[in-house]
């Protein structure tokens, strides 16, 4: 075992040797040790171990393979990481505070494979530069390309809101809203295409609907300059790896040269999904999706939109645009992105004219904030009301002595606990974690419903029991049961619809009038 004073000497020699060129180290150590064989063996074996594997221990013990450690709460350069926003093929994205400029940014940690060799690094630099030059209200701005501790990051605009994926999950949009969304996206693409930047990875996950109702495209970090030819494609070998197969154009899947028309195809897929809620080339796995994109025509759009939208104004125009985008041959799509914008604008105008004035007025929903407030109030009041009703139920327990009374109380308690806890949880989630709340609402809905039904049944039975000598209480119980029935079958669905489905119509309407 090495003794301590020796260790200081070994350290010194080791670092001195490391400062030498690799080929000279052995000779240097032999000379420096001056015949001390033990010391020489010690230092050179350490040098050998060092040269053998420089990556040893460099990845922290808790880091998952492939992704760098999540530096939550840590300072990365001058960015303080707040939380993980998402994770994709391009790496992990964090929400971070830029401590210098005092703003929030989306910080994307690029996987090492994107930054491994100088050529790729140079390309990344070029792409980041191109993306940073893009300033458009519907494109998330790239602020900086940073490198800290050997890890490359892209800092970009943080856009709060839901992705189009969340929106699609809730069901198809009204055709006029799809047209509006399409216009926002098409204008943004036109701005990028004008500068020769192709997105290459447009998909619902990459589009955020801001709280104001506008759309913003993320991830132009992957966009590549148009000039890079097919040979460049071969070099990265990324034809399939980079994009998501479900939104790739046929030429992209084949690995051919890709230009702005590939984005038009991807946009067509996204719009089709927004309008129908279903993918135009459904496949149970990547391979079958790819086969369909290459070979089959999408099912007729107008036949797949929900019945309520079947005759909607603008559907015809929208269908024509989407069909043109989804052409297999790039030449058969729009000749330019501004041409697509113009076609969408015509479809929108036609829809606006076809819609009678009275119909427009009648669909005015409650303003978002107010609707959300009502929904929150309903959740809070329902929870409170349920809890209060436990008191008379506790008294009623003694009217049917023995097991039935207690069982009834316990059933009521269970119903109240489940319904109230889930409601309060949702109430909290909607306030604090709006992005995740949609999924939570879907999950919780069934259990809340079951608990509500149980509540009604328990109180109906309690009312029936109370009829025998406690008529006042009987009225209370039956009223509670009926009240709960009305609340969860009519009032709650209505407030939820108003609060979560029709949120953006107002702002869209404003834009229609402005344009």
């Amino acid at each position: 075992m090495t003794s301590v004073p020796e260790w200081a000497r070994i350290n010194e020699l080791f670092h001195q040797a490391l400062a030498q060129p690799a080929g000279r180290r052995g000779a240097f150590v032999a000379e420096a040790c001056g015949g001390d064989r033990a010391l020489e063996a010690e230092v050179s074996s350490l040098l050998a171990a060092h040269e053998q594997d420089e990556a040893f221990l460099e990845r922290p013990a808790m880091a998952d393979t492939g992704t760098p450690p999540a530096p939550i709460g840590h300072l990365v350069g001058h960015y303080r990481v707040v939380r993980v926003l998402g994770e994709g093929g391009m790496g992990v994205v964090y929400l971070a505070d830029d401590t210098r400029l005092g703003r929030q940014v989306a910080l994307k940690a690029l996987p090492p494979r994107f930054t491994a060799d100088p050529a790729r690094r140079a390309r990344l630099q070029r792409e980041a530069r191109a993306a940073a030059a893009l300033t458009h209200p519907a494109i998330a701005t790239v602020y900086a390309l940073e490198e800290f501790d050997g890890q490359v990051y892209i800092a970009g605009e943080y856009v709060p809101g839901e992705t189009l994926r969340d929106e699609i999950r809730r069901g198809p949009l009204e055709p006029s809203r799809v047209i509006d969304t399409a216009l926002g996206l098409a204008r943004a693409l036109a701005a990028a295409h004008d500068r020769g930047i192709v997105h290459r990875d447009l998909k619902p996950e990459n589009v955020i609907r801001t709280p104001g109702g506008d759309v913003k495209i993320l991830d132009f970090g992957l966009a590549r300059m148009r000039e890079t030819g097919p040979s460049d494609d071969a070099e990265t070998g990324t034809g399939l790896a980079i994009g998501t197969p479900a939104y790739m154009s046929p030429e992209q899947i084949r690995g051919d040269a890709v230009d702005f028309r590939s984005d038009l195809f991807s946009l067509g897929v996204v719009l089709y999904e927004l309008a129908t809620g279903a993918h135009p080339f459904p496949g149970s796995n990547a391979a079958s999706t790819i086969a369909r994109i290459l070979e089959t025509e999408p099912p007729q759009l107008s036949a797949r939109v929900p019945a309520e939208f079947a005759g909607a104004a603008g559907l015809g125009g929208l269908e024509a645009v989407i069909l043109a985008c989804l052409q297999k041959a790039p030449d058969a799509r729009f000749r330019s992105t501004p041409e697509l914008v113009a076609a969408l604008a015509r479809a929108r105008d036609a829809a606006a004219e076809a819609k009678p004035e009275s119909a427009r007025a009648s669909v005015r929903p409650l303003p978002t904030r107010q609707a959300l407030w009502w929904w929150q109030l309903h959740q809070a009041m329902a929870s409170l009301g349920y809890a209060v009703m436990l008191v008379p139920l506790w008294q009623a327990r003694n009217w049917t002595p023995g097991l039935p009374g207690t069982a009834l109380f316990l059933a009521g308690l269970a119903a109240v606990l489940v319904a109230s806890t889930l409601r309060l949880n949702l109430w909290f989630a909607v306030r604090e974690l709006p992005a995740e709340s949609a999924a939570q609402r879907t999950r919780a809905a069934r259990w809340i419903r079951i608990a509500d039904v149980l509540f009604v049944v328990v109180f109906a039975i309690a009312g029936a029991i109370a009829l025998d000598g406690h008529s006042g209480m009987a009225v209370l119980f039956v009223t509670a049961a009926l009240g709960a029935l009305v609340a969860f079958t009519i009032i709650e669905p209505a407030t939820a619809r108003a609060a979560f489905r029709d949120r953006r119509i107002d702002s869209l309407r404003d834009r229609i009038n402005v344009d």
Binding site: W7, A49, L57, P60, V84
Partner: protein
């Protein structure tokens, strides 16, 4: 940095980590949640402690690194026991999570052997061993490690380089493959 007074803190952090790991797996998020996120969530939760018993963030991270070392090495030991075909140790849920964090292929590091080697290194150069603990088990950057030990980043890098070489050599000596 002396070891004695941090004992109770390490216990707390360790308990917190275990608890979080269990909870995550129970919520069936094991697939999507990164083990590192879990650790950092533990950090964040403990940082919010109303009456912090640590001097500052780096002091806390340094303590967490000790806890992480213990947690990971214990997991690795338990997994090793199962693999050797002894009495089937009940594999708790968080084992699954951690197994995924450190795949048991040839390229991965034998944490138990590393722990033993690190204990040997402590006797030769306590500071270098500490640096490895912070960097590898705690996931701290060079700068954070420098901050935690009140030395310069350049010194951390020098010590880190030779400590890694020493440990690597030590592991090769002890490995019987």
């Amino acid at each position: 940095m002396t070891r004695e007074p941090v004992g109770a803190l390490v216990e707390d952090v360790y308990a917190e980590l275990r608890q979080l790991a269990d909870r995550y797996v129970r919520r069936e998020q094991a697939k999507s949640v990164q083990a590192t996120e879990l650790v950092h969530e533990a950090y964040l939760r403990l940082l919010k402690d109303k009456s912090p018993r640590w001097r500052n963030r780096t002091h806390f991270l340094a303590i967490a690194a000790i806890s992480m070392r213990r947690l990971l090495v214990e997991r690795a030991r338990a997994r090793g026991a199962v693999k050797r075909g002894g009495e089937r140790v009940q594999v708790t849920l968080d084992e699954r999570l951690l197994a995924q964090a450190a795949p048991d292929d040839d390229a991965s590091i034998d944490l138990v052997a590393l722990d033993r080697a690190l204990t040997s290194l402590e006797k030769i150069d306590a500071q270098q061993a500490r640096i490895v603990e912070l960097r590898f088990f705690g996931g701290l950057s060079v700068e954070e490690t420098a901050d935690a030990l009140s030395i310069s980043p350049a010194t951390v890098k020098r010590h880190w380089t030779i400590a890694k070489a020493w440990l690597r050599r030590e592991l090769q000596r002890t490995t019987t493959r």
